[in-house]
Symmetry: C2
Subunit: 419 residues, 2 copies
């Protein structure tokens, strides 16, 4: 008799390698058919579980599942639905247990960031109370790299690599044109609360004076005068200035720069325009010609230049999640543990979900240079191994071949539930 089925869902913003974790989970479960039945995935994340909209991954070929390793974004769909606290919304938690019961699900693999770690923990606790024990394992994922306990988060290494490469490339462009054209280039990157992604741009510099010349972190209060003076000095010294700015760059009082000032013809405040805001600020003060780019989704879906280290780690946390479950573990999260010594080594460890949930790991101050505009050698030593290696996807007709699953629905057994 096969074991209980497993449920897997992708949660929150997707990454270039979250499907590699899905692949690790499904492939490892398939290798243990005597103990784990089928892997059912939630269509559009936890919403799929609430609505009993489950995808039967056993309908997918071995090749299709394996191709997930090199396919970005969420192959089963993800969502931004956050389960509220147990007190506020017990009905949703009870519904989850009801669905899991109906489909003989004994393993709950939840692939997400800090919020989902919390959900995962609560689901595990409640299932016991309701007499339907589940093993709940959280599989870490976030481009923001802000989960505690783990040395780094799967998903981050690839966006870090993309941003470092893009910064190096765009800087060469500006450098070659600055004599008669653009002098300031601003790249806006993700990172609302933590500056890890912007920090990765610092890897683009090989020598003193190389771009990026200014990095803006959410962790460092933005000072207009200091910033403008720095831009000017940089252009005097190098002829051009490359700025990489976290979208969460904010003033001392917590106001995001992106919210500060731009309005459309109807007077509506325009959000999300940090790069143009900075560009306008520099233009008004110094008059320099500028260009700006906003990488947005391009950065977190850029599987074409994913970090091989990141892909391996994302796959490994998926494998470990199933292995931990088979060892009877519960309410934990596989983490990446950095080995000691100069040469980078990593292994998979585990951490209890109580300690992981709802925590945010910001950039340590020691990773940011004293003036607040760059990264330190310590940050370089931390970041560099995470972008190592290229894991190119296959190409067809000049474009990456990304897999598309059939995503066949599991027949429903329960009444509808309104999310």
């Amino acid at each position: 008799m096969p074991g209980k089925n497993a449920f897997y869902a992708q949660s929150g913003g997707v990454t270039a390698v979250i499907n590699a974790s899905a692949c690790g989970i499904i492939e490892t479960a398939r290798k243990n058919r005597n103990r784990i039945g089928k892997v059912f995935a939630g269509r559009n994340g936890i919403i799929g579980a609430l609505q009993e909209d489950l995808i039967d991954t056993s309908k997918e070929s071995k090749a299709a599942i394996h191709a997930l390793v090199s396919t970005p974004s969420g192959a089963f769909g993800s969502c931004r639905h956050k389960l509220r606290s147990l007190e506020e919304n017990r009905a949703e938690y009870e519904r989850l247990i009801e669905v899991f019961k109906a489909h003989n699900i004994g393993y709950f693999f939840y692939n997400g960031g800090g919020d989902s770690a919390d959900t995962c923990l609560k689901v595990s606790q409640l299932s016991h109370t309701l007499g339907f024990p589940l093993q709940a394992i959280h599989v870490p994922k976030t481009i923001d790299n802000d989960l505690p306990l783990t040395d780094n988060c799967p998903g981050f290494g690839s966006v870090a690599k993309y941003i470092a490469i893009s910064t190096r490339e765009a800087a060469l462009d500006v450098a070659s044109m600055c004599e008669t054209s653009t002098k300031v280039f601003i790249l806006e990157v993700m990172g609302r609360h933590a500056g890890w992604i912007a920090a990765a741009a610092g890897l683009a510099a090989e020598r003193e004076g190389d771009a990026p010349h200014i990095i803006l972190f959410p962790e460092i209060a933005f000072n207009r005068e200091k910033f403008l003076a720095r831009v000017k000095r940089c252009i005097k010294r190098h002829g051009f200035c490359v700025i990489v700015a976290s979208e969460g760059t904010q003033y001392k009082d917590g106001t995001f720069l992106a919210e500060s000032g731009l309005r459309d013809a109807f007077g509506h405040a325009q959000l999300g325009g940090l790069a143009p805001t900075l560009a306008q600020m520099i233009k008004s003060e110094h008059g320099y010609k500028y260009h700006w780019a906003v990488a947005d989704y391009l950065q977190r879906s850029a599987r074409h230049i994913a970090s091989a280290t990141d892909v391996e780690q994302a796959y490994a946390v998926g494998v470990a999640a199933v292995e931990f479950a088979l060892q009877g573990k519960n309410a934990i999260m596989p983490i990446i543990v950095r080995g000691k010594g100069k040469r980078y080594r990593w292994s998979i460890g585990e951490a209890p979900l109580e300690l992981a949930a709802n925590q945010e790991k910001k950039m340590p101050r020691s990773f940011i240079s004293r003036d607040g505009f760059g990264i330190t050698d310590k940050a370089v030593a931390y970041l560099e191994p995470l972008i190592a290696g290229e894991a190119y996807p296959e190409y067809r007709k000049g474009l990456p071949r990304y897999t598309r699953l059939k995503n066949v629905a599991v027949p429903k057994k329960l009444k509808k539930f309104k999310v």
Copy 2:
């Protein structure tokens, strides 16, 4: 006795492969040392010639020159300085001849777009009048793909590949999140007068209904109502809508959308914000959650994912330029000629500069779908071969190794000249 020296300059916006053309020229000249002396490059383009600021490329190692094949942007610097007409500015043309005379330069290789083809032609004509004959060969380069006579332009294939890949990747991201989050994604791409780059995004679609769902071309007058209706229909049908917009998208009267409306806190018009303008328009009308990206310099410097076909062609036009010069040709441009038949083949041909200068090749109407929002099979057949193949650079510590030349100056012999 070695032959006359050659002058080479990069002009206008740089590309991911313009240095591959430089490499083709320098390597071919080095193979013909008995007939061509040294290759002197203009520092920052034609400005370097005017200011007698020449770079002695013979000081660079064979390896450094070869590494130009995989280094984006302009290794010698480029500029936006356009020489005015002979009548308006004879002094600058005469200065060029003076500098070329002083440095025994008999070959003029100018690597740029339509404007520089014109300059190249005038320099060649004037040199004869002034009794210092030069062989002037224009080496085509532009990401805009808008030069006449040549089937395509070196530099375009790589930006086309980057945009097609980025569109496919970002679309997977939106598709996996659209149930509860972002429904509209807008990618703003380069192309002020011609929509070739935006058109390339159309290659991302494999099946009916795939992203991009809407492409905006400068060639098609923007119609607000039609556009908004299309966005709505697309979201009803597919759950999300991916839009790729040329920066030059304009109303029927020629007003750029990017210039229409956004103002900062001081009331200054904000330019270059096409993507946020479209996003705001959709938000006001339909209320959908949106994200937008502006690729800007990232797209034209993305050597990490250059088209192998583009790299080969860029190198080949450089080689051909020198070979044409050695055959005694003058005032011509090597062009890319597409072979007949289903399988893509190309060879190098030549075109007289008289016909190439100051012409702009827009997208043929037959390449744009009837509704104006997509590309036709004819466009796909044209575009697809241009993005074929990956020409990955070498990596070190997770980042591409791009070469940096020493760029040693040739000793000056003349008085200063004010540009």
